[in-house]
Amino acid sequence: MLAGGQSLIPAMALRLARPAHLVDINGVVGFDRLEPSESGVRIGPCVRHAALGAEAVPGPLGRLLSLARRHIAHAPIRARGTFCGSLANADAASEWCLVAVALGATVTLRSQGRVRQLAMAEFLLGAMTTALEPDELLVEAHLPALPAGTRVGFHEYARRAGDFAEVMALAAYELRDGLVSDPRIALGAVEGRARRLPAAEAALAGQRPHDAAFRRAAEAAAAEITPADDAEDGRLLARAAVARALSAAA
């Protein structure tokens, strides 16, 4: 299956992938549909990275998409690579996987005669591993909207602009009576797959949004993860990224 080709063609050029058949989905009518609504946004399989931002999607969700998008590769790659392709490719350092996991996205998978919907947590199984069967196409991703007034922050560290991240963290929360409610804290690139961090979220819930609370949440994040590579480095990166994503959201 060839979507944007920004992961598959490099893999073929390096002879890491040698597919016997290639099906190009770029010409399929309607696959480039992008439908923002009250409840969120539906993303067809040919929607490019470049199309997903505040100019297309209203509210805090659009803002969050813009924040994440600028970290994905470089403009010429964003003009071609697709959102659904990023989910299907499931790189541990995929910004869109992190966003989708943090927001509780659902994906629709289709093969001949069968359609199924999966929550992102069931879909994303590990680094470069998803629940997609060989005969299935990811035909739509749905990102739920964030309530108006949700504060969002995204922090990423990469060696050079556009490189795959060493760490990335996403934070989103609402304020009720000045206290953090419904916090979402998610981390990517450090473990094999992006995920929400329940201990960090619990540490932040009900607190005033200030540095001390952010630091405690970041400590909890560092303690609850199992870094894929060096554990000490991974925890250091996670602690810093979560704290910065939270301050950026404040």
Partner: protein, 168 residues
């Protein structure tokens, strides 16, 4: 090669304003098509996996990696390469002129990709800061210039394209 590798399609791509019809093997990249089939060797190939930016061309006005597109995917689309940037009378595009003046190139290997990337960037962002320019060209590797002269040339070209300021 597998059976898929032998098949070819006849395609029509508008390259720098003229329609080019040709047979293209289905797995030929757009970059190889431009260089080998159309003999437009201004588009350079450094890494062939999307990292160096040398092969960047404009497809329907958007900068894209020609090494990461198949020629058959350009069928029916408009492609602009470095050969198509200057005016028909040969006068240089303001970016090309500014690159000359500021020594924005030495060996010239990266230059076609930088220019196509920057043509699109200045359309979207006509009055950029130096930091924005650096981010825009973060996907273009130049091993000669150290980038400062490229940034200076871009600032000058942006001014010329906006029509304010004097070009020396």
């Amino acid at each position: 090669m597998s059976d898929g590798g032998c098949a070819s399609r006849s395609i029509a791509v508008t390259v720098n304003g003229s329609v080019c019809r040709a047979e293209a093997p289905v797995r030929l990249t757009l970059s190889d098509f431009l260089r080998q089939t159309l003999h437009l060797t201004g588009t350079h190939l450094g890494c062939e996996h999307g990292v160096c930016g040398a092969c960047t061309v404009l497809v329907d006005g958007r900068a894209m990696r020609s090494c990461l597109m198949l020629a058959v995917q350009a069928d029916g689309h408009q492609v602009t390469t470095i050969e198509g940037l200057a005016a028909p009378d040969g006068s240089l595009h303001p970016l090309q002129a500014a690159f000359c003046r500021h020594h924005g190139l030495q060996c010239g290997f990266c230059t076609p990709g930088l220019l196509t990337t920057l043509v699109e960037f200045l359309k979207d962002c006509p009055d950029p800061t130096a930091a924005e320019i650096r981010e825009a060209i973060s996907g273009n590797i130049c091993r000669c210039t150290g980038y400062d002269s490229i940034v200076a040339a871009t600032i000058e070209a942006a001014r010329a394209l906006r029509g304010d300021g004097t070009t020396p």
